[in-house]
Amino acid sequence: MYTKSVLLVKYGEISLRKGNRAHFEHALLDTLRLRLKGMENIRVAREQGRFLIENTAGDLDTAAVVPLIKDVFGITGFCYAIKTSERDLARLAEIGRDFFIKNLPEHVKNFRVETKRSDKNYPSTSTEISATIGEVIFMAKDEKLAVELRRPEITLWVEIRNDVYFYVNSLRGVGGLPYGSSGKGVLLLSGGFDSPVAGYLTARRGVEIVAVYFHSPPFTSERAADKARDLAAQLAKFAGKIRLYIVPFTDIQVFLKSNVAEEKLTIFLKRAMLRVASRVAKKENALCLVTGDSIGQVASQTIHSLAAVETAAFLPILRPLAAMDKQDIIDMAEKIGTYEISVRPYEDCCTVFVAKHPENKPNATIIEAMEARFLAELSKLSDIAINDTQICEFRL
């Protein structure tokens, strides 16, 4: 018989996906194992709808483990548990009582015991187990701690599996789906606050991110490109892996500058970017584009402008920030550590030739008709740009 502290890892939505469940679980297991690679005697295993992380040589150092995996997409929670090989209910009640009292904060006035019995061969029912353990705790606290089944201040969770687990405290995970389990998308990454957040949110839903940054020397500096590299590296801390395309964009920008009216330039630029990004997507077998557009933030992000830009892409465009306010985006950027990179003051390609009064209600039909005049030439320039692209990969 032994008892030791372990970590029970909960994953939410993937357990709903019947046919692909094993695929998702394995993707997540691989991620957890990769992140804990450097640690000795660590075992990560499936345990009936949970993952179990334990130290094969004794108690798990949860303070060292949790920071390494708390950001993994697809995990909904971490339970700071003890695991015991004991099966006898009377003995279990004592173990549960001692663990509970050790983790009991001072001010608490009532509690509950909640049991989940995955092992249906266990002789007692969930209710019986809860009642037995609850009673032992009630007696131990001299009847001063009340039982409250509906809205308890604190709950002792009991899970009867191959072994028995107790936990009181747990930490919420970031949720979402395992990275890469939802296919691949191409993120248009500028140096600003929005696009990295859009990339993070999309990656959290399981989409593997390939980022594209448009570089316009000498109008944008090498430091601005470094910013994009640093942002990709920061996103890789969550995602595990981000590939970044740095596309030379000067010639396209200059071409458009001399072919379209100043107040329409940004719309055409964005269309050209979506075209290049679509080609990258094709090359990468990606199925969607992702942008940091937020409705009405600037002239090129009014819904008129979004509609006029949209038709240049031959893939669906995801805009996870569309309905978010700037401050919410910035708060999120601070949380994921991209704020301090985005705040560096270098110009990006979108701000180079900005008109004083850009058009904010462009007409999609007119824009497309205008573009048709020089589309062949623009395509050639896009080919050259993609050929000269620098590709780098960032890993955790």
């Binding site: 020397p217 000498p218 109008f219 944008t220 500096s221 090498e222 200059v254 500058k257 001399s258 072919n259 379209v260 009216a261 100043e262 330039l265 003051p345 110009e347 180079v352 030739f353």
Partner: protein, 369 residues
């Protein structure tokens, strides 16, 4: 383009390696190695002080007042901070009134702002009513020279107790330095082909309170182990530059004048004053973004900068705007800064490259329909 033309010497300069062996030892150590380092440091300090003493034109006066002392620091920023915060802390009972122009270097304006917020300083309405005045010897943006001797003498004639601090980072060993009425003078090693150390000349008898605390080094005014080799290298470079000051000044003036010929009165104008230091030439290429030109020049092997303007956030006014320039002209400004190591050939080559680069950018940006 294999040619590299470095015209950003106001940012940093190529170090001149001294021809003596590096010293090993902590000047505060009790053993022989420590003593060796301490002696070398003392000698270097004396040499630097005598260099400052020599800068006082009336030797008799210098001797009567006593020479100042040199406090070595980590650089120009720390020197300015020590001068300003150190003076403010030493006079906390009655917060001194301070005067400094808004376009001084941030290492002057930021500590003043800090002291103001802490209640250590109050702003003086003008120079004449101030207890302490901080002014730059040579503007890091434009190279414009302040006649420090004349200004200091004028201020002292009005008020004998006024303290004059000079941020000498861009002027040290390059421009005429008459220290007669100057109380503090900040300098930086890496702007004069020395190492990344700095220092503050403090007139004898002026009390400062340290801003770093520790082992009591630098006569208790700047605690922390001295960068002995960096200081030796800097003193070495300072002596060399100071001795050849006039020759180098004339040489650099030729280089500056060569580049200044780009000014045509129409779309290329000089922002530096006519009597500015030849070591810095600030020009605006109207109609194009200075930052773009700097990037393109960098691709072509010519290294210049936009001055400190680029460091400030977009919504803030640039230094040049604070000096009264319109926003468009300030946006198109580029700072070229020289050293005695530059050649006239480099200036001629750079001129051609600048003309080409400006043409390129105009061809691109001007063609909007």
């Amino acid at each position: 383009m294999s040619q590299k033309i470095y015209f950003d010497n106001a940012a940093t300069t190529a170090p001149i390696e001294p021809d003596r062996e590096r010293i090993f030892g902590n000047p505060s150590s009790p053993h022989a190695l420590g003593l060796g380092a301490e002696r070398a440091l003392s000698l270097a300090r004396a040499e630097m002080a005598s260099l400052f003493g020599g800068l006082v034109q009336e030797q008799a006066l210098a001797q009567a007042r006593g020479l100042g002392k040199i406090i070595f620091t980590s650089g120009g920023t720390e020197s300015n901070n020590l001068a300003l915060i150190g003076y403010a802390l030493a006079n906390k009972r009655k917060p001194p009134r301070i005067f400094a122009n808004a376009w001084e270097h941030p290492s002057v304006t930021a500590p003043i702002k800090f002291c103001e917020e802490q209640g250590f300083f109050v702003r003086a309405a003008d120079m004449e009513s101030a207890d302490i005045v901080s002014l730059s010897h040579v503007s890091h943006e434009t190279g414009d020279i302040n006649d420090i001797a004349e200004t200091a003498a004028y201020l002292k004639a009005k008020n004998r107790a006024v303290i004059v601090h000079v941020d000498g980072v861009q002027g040290f060993c390059k421009e005429k330095m008459d220290m007669r009425d100057v109380d503090m003078y900040s300098f930086s090693g890496h702007k004069i082909h020395g190492a990344s150390v700095g220092g503050l000349f403090v007139r004898e008898g002026l009390r400062l309170v340290p801003i770093l605390y520790g082992g009591g080094q630098e006569a208790g005014l700047r605690h922390g182990t001295e960068n002995v080799n960096g200081i030796l290298q800097t003193v070495n470079a300072a002596k060399f530059l100071y001795q050849s000051r006039e020759k180098f000044h004339a040489h650099v003036a030729q280089i500056r004048n060569e580049l200044a010929q780009l000014a045509n009165g129409a779309d290329c104008v000089i922002n530096s004053r006519g009597d500015a230091s030849p070591y810095i030439l600030n020009m605006s290429f109207l109609g194009i973004n200075g930052e773009t030109l700097v990037h393109l020049l960098s691709e072509k092997g010519v290294y210049a900068s936009m001055g400190a303007a680029c460091k400030s956030r977009k919504k803030q006014k640039s230094m040049l705007e604070l000096m009264g320039m319109d926003a468009e002209r300030a946006r198109s400004a580029v700072r070229f800064s020289f050293s005695h190591m530059n050649t006239l050939e480099e200036a001629r080559a750079a001129r051609e490259i600048i003309i080409y680069a400006v043409g390129q950018i105009k061809a691109i940006t001007g063609k909007s329909i």
